[in-house]
Symmetry: C2
Subunit: 152 residues, 2 copies
């Protein structure tokens, strides 16, 4: 992508779409996702696999079903993601004592170490993404987005 992307297209911000909340969310997400994947490429992760790792490094012990619900992924997609992370020794599948159907996902030591590196990269990318917001704006944004994202 060229550096001056969208310069000519700026006039379209005056259209019916330019101030539409759903469109702004979509565009902000596209930028955020691209920046995240770029930042994570160094450590061999993508936003998806990073998210799975993030949900398993703190002793959460989520089932694959829970991962899928929280990340809005189909169970079959979770299988593929966990397969990949497990093949690389970053997570393991453990049996759930309470339900033998369920497999609980736990980050290994290597997974935790890689996550820490990855988190430094994504934090830097995030800071860069909204460098022009002050702390209060960031906080207000987080609070309001949480109401939308979690419907509460």
């Amino acid at each position: 992508m060229s550096g001056n992307e969208g310069v000519r297209a700026e006039r379209l911000r005056a259209s019916a779409l330019g101030d539409d909340l759903s469109f702004l969310i979509a565009r902000a997400n596209a930028l955020s996702l691209a920046a995240g994947n770029r930042a994570l490429a160094d450590v061999g992760l993508k936003v998806r696999s990073f998210s799975v790792l993030a949900l398993t490094v703190g002793g959460e012990r989520p089932s694959q079903r829970e991962l899928g619900e929280f990340l809005r992924l189909d169970p079959s997609q979770v299988v593929a993601l966990v397969d990949d992370l497990q093949d690389r020794g970053l997570v393991v599948r453990e049996p759930d004592p309470a339900d033998r159907r369920t497999r609980v996902i736990v980050a290994t030591e290597a997974g935790q170490a890689l996550f820490r590196r990855a988190q430094r990269a994504t934090r830097a990318a995030e800071r860069e993404l909204h460098a022009n917001l002050d702390d209060e704006e960031r906080w207000a944004l987080t609070r309001v987005l949480r109401r939308i994202a979690y419907r509460d």
Copy 2:
């Protein structure tokens, strides 16, 4: 998707990811996109084609290149989108007097009429999506998201 989706997974909101701004944007976008496509199904559009229509109904006369830049789509994807809308008589490609390489996209009467129906549907869906925000919160969200989405 079952109605009680994510109920069990709510505990994962306490994880490293639960308050991450990029993740909240991604999740809000996923909900918004799903709601938008659901609302637009009746009129035979998706969020993508609706967006192209929205950028052509007000006399904007964007080139395909401009559409691609603004919507962050590859030129080849714009071709496919415009092909589809043109085949359905909703937009036409017009020559640009200033540059014979360029094709300018203009909504037809039918395209404008369909857009108005579609916009009513998406507005209802949007209202439902952030029904729990008051006007001031909505405005603050729009303003801050614009800074991220347009980098200004």
